[in-house]
Symmetry: C2
DNA sequence: ACACGGGACTTTAACGATAAAGCAAAAGGA
DNA sequence: TCCTTTTGCTTTATCGTTAAAGTCCCGTGT
């Protein structure tokens, strides 16, 4: 690969002149020289080396993004949105997934001199300790309930879930079940669960909790939740929940497939409500009834805070933004 | 962030000593010093800066991967597999998606001094011109038919598709339709299409070609294909294909959802066959009948060639590996 | 005629690491 | 005992780039 020195030599100028050309310093280079440099760069197929550039400038124009799992289209949608917005601001994303759901990272991001971090914190998990002591600013996505010392773009898990639960009451469903993520040991504090639980009590209904089979591997989530659907279908009708609220859309879709596999109709026999609002859910024969997470607002909010910290040396107190969630009345409940 | 010099100073040794400790040069550093360095590193939370390291070593231990679109779970599965195998060999992946399907890259990967590239070439697209003149080795994934001067792990699109088509004949389906990707202008040379077309002629059947509505945005693929399913459902039964073969699973799933939306049953009214073998397809109430792409074999094959070129300075003639595809007899056809 | 201020570069010293060569002291061999 | 290794470090130069400071020349104003 050609370096800045090759171009400099080819043009009979110094390396700095070439650097100035590529960094568009106004008025630092004459028009003729500029043209010569650009032509030589073209000819020798020169691309500035980003790593060397980052070293020299002490800035990588690259952000780290930590999400849990690309098998869940929700995170893919988050990634694409964040990537687009970051690109508009001149940043690239380096992505790390903590697939084992333990919160521990695989270390893919360590050692890169990144300018900042966007981190999805699982509810119930500590926001700290994800990246170790980190000098670069970090903005977390997570449950809005937290009141700690970090920048957080929080998701109002409760209100959307509550709207969904109230919708379920209006629809007259009795016998609810809540499908909880298997790794959520303290699910009782999980805001999605709380919303359903509260409404359930208020309406004097019963609610059972379901867990998918234990798994550490995200690629088993669909299979395990589908199995739950099949097990529900195998129950006698009276011991079967009339409605299943699921912790996310992937689980909800899998439960629906399992219920159908077991010969039941959704929502006629069992209603299902999801959470996230992923595209796949809306593309089903009957669009999924779910709670939509405003992905763009989350990404915009997080990047706004992060970029202010990075570029404007913002040292204000930790920001706590909350974005709402809202019910999508689909056809599965 | 602490640098190697901070550690050196804290321990009263030179920077090189610290470097030796972290690079595990055998016998270069005494046990006592080694311990002191490690402790200081721990205390100051030192992480070697990967970019500086890459500059110095002229090796980044990072590979570029070019795929078309993370909205298609097939590519996510490819990515996860390639990432796992690369990690085992000590490499990281930098991913770029060329979402607009034009083959042009967004430039996310340019300028990074990567050690090699893994590139998905769309059938019908030239294998060159993806990355510009590139000094690092490139291995392509693509249609096996090509006979050019690059390293290619080719997919035998034909044989699996042919097996599927022959299965369709055995099942007695008449009136076929082939759903082609909208961007495939030269679909007649596409091997998936060829297989279906050949078998169709051999069996003296008729086959119509379907295209989803033009779109540049991958997030519309599901919606557009679902619409095709609905349009088919709206046709009078006799003018409706009895079987729809789709260019991939995402399209097949969307077509099924559209058909069902339109009140038809799959496979009783219309049978559907996909291509790729993604998890989502197998998790449906009725598992998708499809052609499986052996993702692990493709990743393993590509990485094997690529790592040989990188690490062993392999200069053999371009390799052309072919991996097979095979029919999964699901329940949608 | 002469200082003065740009304009258009060049020089120097980093950035954080590594490769390669250098060097002093301890250990080993004759 | 003296010379040669080996051990355990340090020094120097370099990777490709940039920030900051330096240089030279030319046109201007007085």
């Amino acid at each position: 690969m050609a370096t800045i020195k090759d171009i400099a030599q080819a043009c009979g100028v110094s390396a700095m002149t070439v650097s100035y050309v590529f960094n568009e310093k106004p008025g630092a280079v004459g028009a003729a020289t500029r043209e010569r440099v650009l032509q030589a760069a073209q000819r020798l197929n020169y691309q500035p080396n980003r790593m060397a550039r980052s070293l020299g400038r002490r800035k990588s124009d690259t952000l780290g993004m930590v999400i849990s799992d690309l098998r869940n289209p929700f995170y893919v949608e988050m990634l694409e949105c964040a990537e687009k917005l970051a690109a508009e601001a001149g940043y690239q994303l380096l992505v790390e997934t903590h697939r084992d759901l333990s919160g521990r990272l695989t270390g893919r991001l360590t050692g890169w001199p990144l300018d900042g971090f966007l981190v999805w914190a699982h509810s119930g998990q500590s926001l700290e300790g994800f990246l170790g002591p980190q000098s670069a600013p970090v903005v977390y996505w997570g449950d809005a309930r937290r009141d700690d010392a970090s920048d957080v773009v929080g998701l109002d898990l409760y209100s959307g879930s509550r709207a969904a639960a109230e919708y379920a009451v209006r629809r007259g469903y009795s016998r609810w079940a809540f499908l909880s993520p298997h790794y959520q040991s303290d699910f009782r504090f999980e805001r999605r669960f709380c919303a359903w639980d509260d409404v359930c009590r208020e309406a004097s209904l019963r609610m059972e909790t379901l867990w998918p089979r234990e798994t550490e591997r995200p690629e088993n989530v669909r299979a395990n939740c589908r199995e739950i659907g099949m097990e529900l279908a195998a129950r006698p009708a009276l011991r079967r929940p009339r409605l299943v609220a699921c912790y996310n859309d992937v689980a909800a879709i899998a439960v629906i497939q399992g219920l159908r596999r077991g010969g039941l109709r959704v929502p006629e026999d069992v209603a299902v409500i999801g959470f996230d609002g992923i595209e796949e859910g809306q593309m089903m024969d009957r669009p999924l009834t779910t709670v939509q997470v405003p992905i763009e607002a989350m990404c915009r909010g997080a990047l706004e805070i992060l970029l202010a910290r990075i570029e404007e040396n913002d040292v204000r107190a930790p920001q706590q933004v909350v974005v709402p969630t809202r019910l999508i009345e689909g056809e599965t409940a």
